[in-house]
């Protein structure tokens, strides 16, 4: 399995340099104002949008590119002739996708932590930032848990259309709602504000709940992809 992950890394190596530098640069540039803001207001919305655009979208594109590479080279037809079991093949794809997600989030957290310590900012801001990152990450996990089985079921060129719609709905509607729940600044229309305010306040408990929900989606997704690949005829 490790060899398959390494293969995915090697086939995308050229993009990693660009992507890695990009993630670090973003962390350095945006980490500072993100934690410096004294109050939790409009700035968070702006900054979260930046995270979504510049961190999660590249992750999403990289995961898509991973499947595109396999589709382009008919790699599954080659890999299935190797002495590997199909569960390993599926699991390695998920693991690599998770690594793609965790790495930049980790970099963001580290840089933000460094700023908090260096600038002696309040721990509450740091915690708030973790919640924001967590909300996006869990939404992202749910999104790719729904996306990935389609890549195993259908060819990339078909799956990408479905996944495009699903991703837009889940990620760009649900995750902003999760983040907006943290705001109480009256920037939203009243009816939406009322709806959002009825949602449970995002705190440590909510994050744990989201973690369980996204893990549940992930496990179901892995099992489903395994079953799809076992039944799939190449």
């Amino acid at each position: 399995m490790f060899k398959l992950i390494l293969k995915d890394y090697r086939t995308q190596k050229a993009f990693f340099g660009i992507y890695g530098s990009f993630a670090i640069a973003l962390s350095v540039l945006y980490g500072y104002p993100f934690v410096k803001t004294g109050k939790l207001s409009d700035d968070i919305l702006t900054q979260n949008s930046i995270i979504a655009l510049f961190i999660y979208i590249p992750i999403y594109l990289l995961i898509n590119y991973l499947f595109y590479q396999d589709y382009k080279h008919d790699a599954m037809k080659l890999i299935l002739t190797f002495p590997l079991n199909k569960k390993e093949i599926v699991f390695s794809k998920y693991l690599f996708s998770l690594i793609l997600l965790i790495m930049p989030v980790f970099v963001f957290v580290v840089f933000s932590g460094v700023y908090v310590i260096a600038l002696q900012l309040s721990g509450e801001l740091f915690f708030q930032k973790l919640i924001t990152l967590g909300s996006f990450s869990f939404a992202f996990l749910v999104m790719f848990s729904i996306n990935l089985p389609w890549y195993f079921k259908y060819d990339y060129d078909k799956a990408i259309y479905f996944n495009g719609y699903i991703s837009t709905i889940i990620f760009f509607i649900i995750s902003p709602v999760l983040v907006l729940r943290q705001l109480d600044n009256g920037i939203l229309p009243e009816y939406l504000q009322t709806t959002i305010s009825r949602l449970p306040k995002i705190g440590a408990t909510s994050i744990v709940c989201m973690l369980f929900v996204s893990m549940f989606f992930l496990i179901i997704s892995i099992r489903l992809s395994e079953r799809i690949l076992v039944k799939k005829e190449i």
Binding site: R10, Q69, A75, F82, P83, L84, N85, E233
Partner: protein
């Protein structure tokens, strides 16, 4: 210890409108079997079933005496497979491809891989996309052979290659067999390739095995007979398979030559009968297709 490196028993696979119908054959250890049939006869489907790339509806496949589904991983580590279309990361180099494929096999011999590349004149620094089709086939073969498989399964390995490269590949097959323990199962619709290197032949037509025997038994059994048209009557015509009549003479095939000769001589005592050994091409054309024979 297994005697047959591959055993396919009553294999049935429905694939849309096409189906494999009770396909059965076996390859004794240490031999080459050619698997022939027209395009769409079911060769690739059978090979994919053996490789556990597609599921079959009924029947059984044993490779090295092991069930090919239950022991898929073990079996794949002991065989080499070359598909008709070559699947590579073509933006990567030959060397990278070798390292990548080799990492999945415990018995991978990097030195042997490099030796095979040299033998095949494949430049390991080149990117795969820069290789010609013949070179890609050679690369596939080197990849399939570098972990020293006990069985090589090749799907149309010579298809689309020029006669020189084809001949070279067939010679490589014979070299592989010199070790004595290896076996090769290769599909092709080029009958001359089978005639040149195979010990056993399995012919498939429309999803059904028409014949699966050792090559010499098949080719010795059938005789091509030719005679002038004036030595032709209904009895003679009915006794021949794949009968063809021209302006001056006729020809046909029989697997009961002595019986045919007696009948011919009885009807035409003065008749002159010319005989020749059947070629695999003629066998395929006249016996399998025109004669509709199922052995």
């Amino acid at each position: 210890m297994y005697q047959n490196v591959l055993e396919v028993n009553s294999l049935v696979k429905k694939y849309g409108e096409f189906s494999l119908k009770e396909v059965s054959f076996k390859i004794p250890k240490g031999y080459i079997m050619g698997f022939s049939g027209q395009n769409g006869a079911g060769k690739s489907t059978t090979l994919k079933c053996i490789m556990n790339l597609i599921k079959y509806d009924s029947g059984s496949i044993n490779v090295f005496g092991l069930d090919n589904i239950k022991h898929s991983t073990d079996i794949k580590s002991r065989l080499g497979y070359v598909s008709e279309d070559h699947y590579f990361y073509d933006h990567m180099t030959v060397e990278w491809t070798g390292n990548f494929v080799g990492s999945f096999y415990e018995r991978w011999e990097k030195e042997l891989f490099n030796k095979l590349l040299n033998r095949f004149n494949v430049d390991k620094t080149k990117k795969v996309r820069e290789l010609s089709k013949g070179m890609k086939t050679k690369l596939s073969l080197a990849l399939a052979m570098a972990h020293m498989p006990e069985l090589l399964i090749l799907d149309e390995p010579t298809s689309g290659l020029d006669p020189v490269v084809r001949n070279e590949l067939l010679e490589i097959f014979l070299e592989i067999m010199q070790s004595g323990d290896n076996s090769i199962f290769f599909s092709t619709h080029i009958t001359s390739d089978i005639e040149k290197v195979a010990d056993y032949i399995t012919i498939i037509d429309n999803g059904r095995v028409v014949v699966s025997e050792d090559k010499d038994s098949i080719l010795d059994k059938w005789v091509v007979v030719k005679a002038e048209n004036r030595y032709l009557n209904d009895n003679v015509k009915k006794s021949l398979i794949g009968f063809k009549e021209g302006d001056f003479g006729y020809s046909g095939i029989t697997n009961e030559f002595e019986w045919f000769k007696d009948r011919f001589n009885a009807d035409f005592p003065e008749g002159n009968l010319i005989t020749s050994r059947i070629s695999l091409d003629e066998y395929m054309l006249r016996v399998v297709k025109e004669g509709g024979i199922c052995v």
